[in-house]
Symmetry: D3
Subunit: 219 residues, 6 copies
């Protein structure tokens, strides 16, 4: 991501010590939420200016927004907001084996409904590549992305493509050129929105996301 | 709840050993989700026919639906579905001190949006009684419920009232009579919907909520 | 329905003496509404605790809710509310010869719109079996149900199936197992929701459905 | 209505011999629908070119559209479609004593939802004049209309006013001038839309509203 | 249009001296809006009772409504409002070469969204005939209209057809009969709605569309 | 804006030579659109990497997106997309004398509807300061902003504030602190979104906004 960040932005990546190996199910999300929020808290205490939750399922997003005062940005939310300014309807290309796609499709659909973007989401398709194999199966990924992206455009009526996984990073401009459609890489979308909020000196509304008061919380 | 359950229904209540003291924030929810899902798993293994997640925030609902094959029912979801069959628009009476109401109101609004019921929710009001004081402050609770319930009806245009907390149990028929409006007690709503699903021999769709495959998940 | 009802529930079935032979059109509904409402009135006078209007078109539902104080339940409304708690989107399998399907599809679509569930209804398909032949053509019905149900799931994206006619009763668990999706039988859905409302001691809101005042009404 | 109709339009008014004295409840509508549809059938047989169902509740509208091939027009539907082309949001001024307004408000809200215009309806208010007293209490009606109309505009944000009853006919231009907002008289709206459809030689879609096939229908 | 207008209506057609040759893009619309509004102003000054903006893109519609007090009617808005009263969902048949259809489809979709009719628009298809060739390629136009109209009905689920261009005038009743669906010719729809508003003596709401105050505006 | 831009961003401001003095009406917009689009074309030819249309009415936005390949950003669209990521519902504070507010409110409401954000917009209020007096009446502006902002939050339920005019620039952090809510300054929002798109190397979808083909367009 270094070529996309601003010169005075310093990015540090932190992996969760707890949680699931990958986030494919709502069940995985239940394991991921608390460790994610706790990591966000550590980041604020360590003096960072903003936090990106690096997963397209946006786990713990609203909880972290309550607990933190620095901006907290989610990959999915940031991506579809940018896509919404580039065209009329977008298609999401999810990762993960196709037999689990039902659950993932519905989780994405529910997120679209929750963010109020369901009518702008023309298409949810799967690339049928395991999330943990995204890096090593790069060629298959690109090939699938071109096939599914074209179908999202020609059959489903999408005019903009959103990758549906944080793991798909070294993609982008070539695929976008071949598809003749803008392609949103979620990690970049979140990076730029996070930089934007920091530079504008705004953060999540504390009316909407007030600081949780102290109480006993066992984990 | 014993007078409302069917004669051949056996109800067992299990409290979480981990998690927050009460669920008022999204932050609390991040602590509650995994212990809730794990408790649901134990219930299925122990041979129960269905599970109720006893909290109006429906923590871990979709995650548990994936992991279990027996029906999993949420208080909020069950309540608003019943309310939707009794009138045109409903008002929700949340509990908790009014200074934290912003966050709670938005969390409820987001759930309404997510369940697709936002246009049926005419009113979200707070009773300004701490969740943990609901039992000892019973008279204040009733008094507030009558005031806020009437305003929900007369000002906000609600015709049905939904209590917004699992803790408000010994209420109901008197208040309903005074307000001249049906009053949904979430725990009862969830109990009856759970009995209904068990007796109809249906459960959550495994297309929508497929069994999560095995992987490493650290908690 | 006896194996699904509770032990202390007594069900009596009453056929309309007037009205259409079957309800396939809005035109049929105009003939069915008043006799239906009048039969509901007789049921309340006879001391019943609740009424089910046994038709997927929900004829006279709101009118009867005004006139009665005991709960009045409609097959379509009850079915889609239960389906909505089992998955993300449902498909409706209507009965009746396919050349009349246009009208029926639109009537169902309008009901979905009126109940506020249009975005959850992924699919409306016809089984192409005459309503009055549903009993004798049972094998054809099952075969069609499997075909159309699979297409509703695979092509239209439904994850839950709702039968679209009160006449389809002896179906259910086998079909559900073959489709790997929950299948809602409307008559059972209405029975259980009716029992639920009676046991919760709630009924339709008299703010939403006030008692009609006396006036001359000629029929 | 004579000064508003076209010179070659002949209008005949027919009263129902059966049905309720006035249509204020869903219960009244159950009495009104069949006689209304039957009267529409007689009109088509008698050679009329189009039919207006003269009631703001649009009773029997879709049933008559199935049975007839000539255009069938409803007062409510026609009024809100015209209002929708004159401004951004409209307010409906219903008639009838205010203690029954709950039911009427919800019936109107449901019609708005059914027609897909709920988001354009900023305001539903009652004039608190009995439907059957509309003619003799003309001054009170006008006074109430000015009060409620102004509040619909200033408080509820309406920019166009729709009368909510077919009985309010000799109103219009003065009130509109005083309110500085267009005022739709439902009977005129329906008359002009009916003339429009006849002159354009179009009628309701027989795909959406196919002719009901013959069967036994007892009334 | 003479056979459709009322006997005492006088229609004058005025072509813009400035603006684009045809309106196919948002870019064309930027050229068309001001000349259109200026022509509307001239019409009001010349004493006309109402104005039709003769283009399916409705250029300058709201601007002209502010500046004028006589009714201003747009082809697209009038057409879909009439279609909405004839069936449940409509299909729009746009003109113009298919390689520019992406932009046109989105512009129409945005108009549907803006008018609040997106859920009633089942289908947007292109006839692949250049706008300026509509007159000379009449047979091709009819042939394409039958093909695309049938697919709109059978595949997309439309029950009513709306032509998507002001230039398609000498079409209508034959095509409608072959498709067995009502067909809305936009110019006629606008003509009849304009006559309707004039005869009802109503015009656009000056609350919604107030007269712009004087200021320097250079063109 | 210099303290908010990135170090390697160069901003040039160009005023329209034609068009209205200020944009308060749809009528003004008709004068502004073509000069705006032409100025955008000049910017692309002059080698700029992106264009901001500096007006909250987003005049010519989609037309310019067709004509240009570099990103074109609108103040209103950018602002509400950022606000949507900071809270649940936002309030817009428009400028301009209150007697013209009807028209402006509806224009903003229509834009919200068009962008698909109507349900997130809790409040549209006017500051009752002439657009052209925004600079000299700075104290009055701030005072009004605090009053209306508080009412937007407490009465209308907004949790985030969006300024509704490009002219209000030297505001922001103090007001935001007093209101305890994030405050979006449209010009900054557009600046940061424009930088974001340039750095991500994406631009508007040419499927949604194809290059207009050459034809005669007179202005």
């Amino acid at each position: 991501m270094d070529q996309y960040k601003e010169s005075d932005t310093q990015i540090d990546v932190s992996s969760l010590e707890k949680g699931p190996d990958s986030l494919e199910f709502g069940y995985d999300k239940a394991y991921a939420e608390l460790p994610t929020v706790e990591e966000c808290e550590r980041a604020e205490k360590a003096g960072y200016d903003g936090v990106i939750i690096y997963c397209f399922a946006d786990p713990g997003l609203n909880a972290a927004r309550e607990r933190l005062t620095i901006p907290v940005v989610g990959l999915c939310e940031a991506s579809i907001h940018l896509a919404s300014m580039l065209g009329s309807t977008f298609g999401i290309m999810a990762a993960g084996s196709s037999d689990m796609f039902g659950s993932k499709r519905i989780a994405i659909l529910n997120r679209m409904q929750g963010y109020g973007f369901r009518h702008k989401c023309a298409s949810i398709r799967t690339l049928d590549v395991e999330v943990l194999d995204l890096v090593k199966d790069h060629d298959k990924l690109i090939a699938q992305l071109l096939i599914e992206g074209r179908e999202a455009i020609q059959i489903d009526g999408a005019d903009t493509i959103v990758l549906g996984c944080g793991g798909m990073l070294q993609i982008g401009e070539n695929v976008s050129r071949e598809l003749n459609a803008p392609l949103i890489v979620p990690a970049l979308a979140a990076l730029k929105i996070c930089e934007t909020l920091i530079q504008m000196n705004v953060s999540q509304s504390k009316i909407a996301f007030p600081l949780p008061r102290k109480k006993k919380r066992l984990s």
